[in-house]
Symmetry: C2
Subunit: 489 residues, 2 copies
Amino acid sequence: MIKNIKINYGDAVRDLQTLIRQPSVSAKNQGMVECANLVAQIMLNAGIDTKLLYLSNNDKYTEAEEEDNNSSNIPSPPATQPPGLLSLPPPIVYGEVKSKSNPNGKTILFYNHYDVQPIEPIELWDKNPFSGNIEGNYIFGRGAADDKGELIARIKALEYYIKKTNDVPCNVKFVVEGEEEIGSVHLKEYISLYKEKFKCDGVIWESGFVDTRGRPIISLGQKGILSIEIVSKGPCRDAHSSLAVLIENPAWSLVRLLNTLRDNNGKILIENWYNEVRDFTDEEISLIEKEPFDEDALKKEYSVSSFISNAKGIEVKKAFAGMPTCNISGLVSGYVGEGSKTVLPSITIARLDFRLVPDMVPQIQFERLKKHIRKYWLSKSNNDNNNTTIEIRLLGAEPAARTSINHPFVNIIKEAAVEVYGDAIINVSSAGTGPMYYFNKLLGVPSVCIGGTDIPNRLHSPNEYMRIDLLNKTIKCMVVILEKFAFSC
Amino acid sequence: MIKNIKINYGDAVRDLQTLIRQPSVSAKNQGMVECANLVAQIMLNAGIDTKLLYLSNNDKYTEAEEEDNNSSNIPSPPATQPPGLLSLPPPIVYGEVKSKSNPNGKTILFYNHYDVQPIEPIELWDKNPFSGNIEGNYIFGRGAADDKGELIARIKALEYYIKKTNDVPCNVKFVVEGEEEIGSVHLKEYISLYKEKFKCDGVIWESGFVDTRGRPIISLGQKGILSIEIVSKGPCRDAHSSLAVLIENPAWSLVRLLNTLRDNNGKILIENWYNEVRDFTDEEISLIEKEPFDEDALKKEYSVSSFISNAKGIEVKKAFAGMPTCNISGLVSGYVGEGSKTVLPSITIARLDFRLVPDMVPQIQFERLKKHIRKYWLSKSNNDNNNTTIEIRLLGAEPAARTSINHPFVNIIKEAAVEVYGDAIINVSSAGTGPMYYFNKLLGVPSVCIGGTDIPNRLHSPNEYMRIDLLNKTIKCMVVILEKFAFSC
């Protein structure tokens, strides 16, 4: 074990600036391969065995299962995407360092991403979003925290260890994807394809927050999601609204249908919706009770005077960690532009996202939703079925994931965090969604979020930043995690 | 009375072509004054005493009440809008012919408009929309029927009479406005301002249809309208939809509110909404019974298999003529573009139009709507009021109008129509809306629609046309109307 960790943090700041200056907006396919190559170069420089992984077009498993034990230590990553693969998703930057002293020991996997959110609205940025400019303790730019800052912290922890000891205390893998900001659309496929390569004993998740009192929030779960679109169709073309006396308006049909899905306390009214919802364990409840949650700050941020169902205290925290939702994310029909238009619209569209919790299965929930709609639609009291048709489309689905608070991996992370930060908060689950389930399920390992992103963060917003002191602390924390993980067996 | 009416119809076609070739799109303020001048010139050439009327800026009544008995017979209309009035609405082309033989007799007023709908979508026109090209029995172009064709028919009827007899059988007035296609926004003001000038005993409305069997439909009424916007506001900015577990979504609040306004049989659930609805008289019912209505053609046109409440036969016709509606003309919230966005929208907007019937008062109905929303919003079972605010905006309002079928004016028109067309249909009210109420109420006179627009018309659509045979028949019908009207006292 290394005593007196003294890291050259300057390197981390410079490498993070370099990485921010390479745009990599997955939503616009902007600079993706360039950024993957840059990440690979930084990883190679750190002493990590690195390659770019692709989903092969025709024979998926040919390249994937090829043994790479004999690959050279520092291979050149391809300068551009291989020919014939131009229509493939962005590559995963894969890195590996085997422990010489402990080659049959455990393996930790860092999951990160090199893609960033779009920069819009650009007019709200004080500086060029890809400048990586430093002001005092802050590095500004798109991706500064999410997720280039977190990624650099992990690479630098490895680099420190390798340079200091010419070894690592445990086996380490990196999976750095390029589609996290567009829903990790191919990650499940990547994990299935490279299951052997990604084999590990625990995953350190790409994100992690530090609260306003400097305590890292170690989060153990993510909600799942079911995203759907409902299209209600009435007359075959827009009609003059004088015909509304005879022809049913698909907007009315949709309003009535939507109204059957959820009550005004947020309860979802679809039959059996909550059947598989896993109750919190007593231990989880007591953790949730301890978790800080600044209700007033959240209310103030969004100018709301109370929460749904007037929830307070423990109810707010339980809802955040483990309550399913049914949210209208989009609605459109007819005309709401300048002036007014007396139109009876031909079509009305609603988009909804349902947050799911363990152990809800997205496909089963989708079937329940369809059954609910079918039943409602065909019910005797409903005459919408006469003239309106309803179509339901699945837009996306990810199951929820939650690592047990009793898993030894969680304790290792917590101990490391307390050692570096003096304190740490365990969060049973985030309210957001990510592809954690695929790691937990396909690789059969626990995943834990820990990172250095300031809580009043501007992730996905203008003037995103990374705090340099937190970047440094995160590097240190990752070093301690590596050591504690290695010596925990 | 003129026997053997022989009109030089060629003049009518040429003048209509000239008028079509002058664009006059009120929505874009395109060619309005130019078209008003052209109409005035055609009216002057026909022997009609013509001037352009404006709404004066400062002293409304100075110009309006000025006596124009001494005006020269053929005044030059102003070449452009008078200086200082540039921001005023388009002028009304006002025309007058006094009967020499019967100066103290009755006065008939023709209400028409010289503005037209926009030509979009322009790619669906087979020819230049302002070409006025003739193919066989058809004159094509924007405004060919609505309303330049109808206007020319009336002017030509007058011209024929004046040239033939050097007189007219009754006093005649023309009110030709330039804002009909944008909701006659200043017509009420014009009528109030020029009430004395517009004094008459009956109004021939700007539009009128001839059915597929060649029978003119004499329509006696128009529904009113109340157009509103409801804005539901939630969090002060769009939030990530993971927060939907705590923060209420204004789209949900609006869906619930909308759902309280109308049931799935089209019934409006607002308290007292139907209080003033005037029942059909027995005579109206028996007229409605006789009225032809091609249910199958309408269903086929819009690909619907049945009507609201499964209405059939007399119920369809009663609904069309006299049932109020509540229609959603626009809905918007969040995001329904490419991909999906997990957003909890800050704002949701609905536009609604309510068709009104005699004797509903738009302002009273608006108050009832507001009261309904207030009551619902503050009800104990509703907790939307905690975090969502609702704003209601009035976008437009016009009362309904219906001329009594017993009014002698109606009988005169019908007799003339039967004489020219061999048959005629009396329609108690159109399902659409127009400013008929202001003539009926402010001038205290009956209004009747009769015209020559082919029923499979393309009003407001590409390839609008006027049938030359119907144009000619309409001119003849107007001549007969003038005579019957003159000699009816």
